[in-house]
């Protein structure tokens, strides 16, 4: 099948270094991956097309790039899964990191954030003579996050990172989870304390994109949610993030639907005057349009609230 690859190119050494798109036509077969096609372009059409690639089997993490708008490993993406009859395939470098050349990005920042979570085992006391004893399920559970190959796909497509470059990001948080959930690690409390800081686990906006694009099923966002729960369990000092979560649940339990002004007040605190004043313009815009939600005593519980409360009771029962 004749396929068009619409590839974003960038050569920092050209006279006017600006990115542009270049189209390549290529005959592809059913079994071809996007990487096969890119290598064929490089080998037979344009040797200057630059990308990283190595294992061809989704284990080295080199060929992360955006394919039709979403981060993926080129070696794991079948051409046939993207097109049915001659559509164009868009290939671009990963997002949320600087581009060095064509599809090659600078991952220094990515690794800096990985290092930020102190990603090595920190046991307490000296090592035993033999192995550490550990439950087989605990070790099996960790294989889920250890499957991470640090390809950067989750970071590329992370919506929170796009607006908040301080966010440590899904890959680093999944890595942090790997140690918090390791029964041999003795430093969970301090790890969770660190993650509780701005830029840490509460900055995820739960868009689920990291779960969607991960080629190895690591499920970074799920790990972040577990980290948050563990943080609350460990009693790390409350932050706007953890208060938001608690207030959210509390309001739903009381009223059955969200009381948004109350959620804002409880998240930031009524005494946080700067934050409270910052809401005023929004309130004044919403009020005349009748869009200011009711709050406090005016926000009545929904009919059938008893059933909602029973759900909460059941969720709180020890399993």
């Amino acid at each position: 099948m004749q396929t068009t690859f619409h590839i974003r190119r960038f050569n920092p050494e050209s006279e006017s270094p600006q990115s542009y798109f270049q189209d390549y036509q290529l005959a592809t077969e059913r079994s071809d991956t996007v990487l096969d096609a890119l290598i064929r372009i490089r080998e037979t059409v344009d040797e200057s097309l630059t990308l990283r690639c190595s294992c061809r089997g989704a284990i080295c993490g080199s060929c992360g790039m955006r394919i039709n708008g979403h981060a993926a490993l080129a070696c794991k993406t079948k051409v046939a899964s993207l097109i049915s009859s001659g559509e164009t395939i868009h290939v671009e470098p990963m997002n949320n990191m600087p581009v060095i050349k064509d599809l090659v990005t600078d991952m220094a920042g990515f690794w800096e954030k990985i290092r930020q979570v102190q990603p090595w085992l920190q046991p307490t006391g000296s090592a035993p003579e033999g192995e550490y004893l550990a439950a087989p399920e605990a070790m099996n559970h960790l294989t889920g996050v250890m499957h991470c190959i640090m390809c950067g796909a989750c970071v590329s497509d992370c919506a929170a990172l796009e607006v908040n470059p301080n966010f440590v990001g899904p890959a680093a948080l999944a890595k942090a989870y790997r140690f918090v959930a390791d029964p041999r690690d003795g430093n969970s409390s301090s790890r969770l304390g660190e993650l509780n800081n701005p830029g840490g686990m509460w900055d995820c906006t739960r868009c689920m994109e990291c779960i969607e694009v991960c080629p190895k099923g690591v499920g970074a966002m799920d790990r972040i949610m577990t980290l948050r729960a563990k943080g609350i369990e460990h009693g790390v000092p409350s932050t706007s993030g953890s208060r938001h979560t608690e207030a959210f649940a509390d309001i739903i339990e009381q009223k059955g639907r969200l009381d948004e002004p109350m959620l804002a007040v409880r998240t930031f605190g009524l005494t946080n005057l700067r934050q409270m004043f910052s809401f005023l313009p929004m309130i004044f815009r919403a009020l005349p349009r009748g869009k200011l939600p009711r709050s406090g005593p005016l926000h009545r519980p929904i009919p059938g609230i008893d059933r909602i409360r029973r759900l909460f009771q059941r969720a709180k029962e020890p399993r």
């Binding site: 990308l51 090595w120 085992l121 087989p136 070790m139």
Partner: protein, 571 residues
Amino acid sequence: MVTTYEFDVLVMGAGLAGLRAALAAHQTGATVAVITKVHPVRSHSNAAQGGINAALTDRGDKWEEHAFETVKGSDYLSDQDAVEILAQEAGQDILALEHMGVIFNRNEEGRLGTRRFGGQKRARTFFVSDFTGQALLHVLYEQAMKARLPVFEEWFVTSLVKDEQGRCGGVLAFEIRSGRMALFKAKAVVIAAGGLGRVFEPSTNALICTGDGIAIAYRGGAPLMDMEMVQYHPTTLQGKGLLLSEAARGEGAYLLNAEGERFMEQYAPNMMELASRDVVSRAEQIEINEGRGINGCVLLDCRHLGKKLIRERLSQISEEAKSFANIDLTEEPVPICPGMHYMMGGVKTDVEGRCWDPAGGWQGVPGLFAAGEAACLSLHGGNRLGANSLLETVVFGRRAGRCAGEYAETLAFPRISDGVVKDGENALKKVLARPETGDTVARIRHEMGCAMTEGFGVFRDEEGMAHAQQTVGSLRERWNRVAIHDKGQVFNTSLVRALELDFMLDCAETIALGAVTRTESRGAHFRTDCLERDDDHWLKHILIHYRPDGPPQLDYLPVRITQWEPQVRVY
């Protein structure tokens, strides 16, 4: 003048052997840096799936059994003093890895669990599902981050440099991102840059496995040994040659021919699918050649293992079979064939990783060390047992790193003449100045890969080998005129691939030379025109020395036998 960096120990390569060596050298108090053409976690150690062997005595296992099975697996070509060290020190290294954080599979008591692997009667393979290499590599990289080891990522080493006494004094390299060249002065250099799979087409190896370290050491004056010993893995996917782990057979999967027979009964009635890899690969090839295959393949059948086991212990290969062969392992057998997988040979070292003999028994390069697949002790001789390669990287990576660190302590920094650096720079400039169009690196590489597979496959004979050797010679001529399309300084992969091909051609030449020289069948080197193993003449290693102005020079070393005299090999 180019930038100069100075370290006591410089490690080339950041896979398991490289990182283990760097950490060990760091512990001696030496200043250490790692130089690697890809980020450490992109290294090919990732691809090791099934596990890592060790005979733990507290589990009733004996290191002697592990050592004997390794020697038998090697078809008696391994040096037994090295194998003894491997087997004796395996346990402590497994525990060290566990303490660093490797999430080894556990048994019901919470202790380390094992699975069976080929060529061994006992289950002594420790594992992390079926991505053991990746799980180890990421943990060693964690330790490197903890130790704050400087890593020169995406730097391409072009040559060794030596001082006036002929001692190794570092390497010349350029940063791929900027094209900037630098001299890395070091009192000791450890080559841990992995294998050379891309010399063959297809291969299970990643695209980065281009024998750089082997070729650099060879051109620097270190001899290569056992280069004719190329392992064909019994279970690879047709086409690109991706690997499906031996763990599948270790967990009990069957090999079936087109008639649905477990054909290994005919070839290895005791060990069946778990005979050593050379034996299984030959059996498969015979089945295929005699018309009992299916489109050039036989079948690997995992169905009876059950969904739970496949999910927990074979997750990666089941994902791989789904993605790359469109097969659900729980529902259907998957077609597989033997595929080029591993280089048993490499840069000759002693048991401390030294590429020279302090006693003067063989010629090498003082100050140069090697470990991992790039090195040849010889542990694996004619055929490596599965799960011994990861073990080799940690045991002998550690030993090489420690010895390099201690060796460096005794020396001053080498003096490297400006001329050496200038020559290196000019050589690179000359390659970059090749014409923009003409013969391509890709074409030459492909022809080399096909010729090597044709001539040095599972079965070899004189005519086929001579033909392939001739082809490789003519490809070397063509490389001298190959076109380089990209002339830029930044991330010029066009240049990198041309240099890699140069290294691969050296590797191909030495493989061919070793193979035509050995007129017997032993381990993976199976000649249909010399069917028997010939212990009277060939219980020895072939060493190949580079000669800058003439053909390579051959040399021989006897096999070191400690307690296991060669026997007839039956599985």
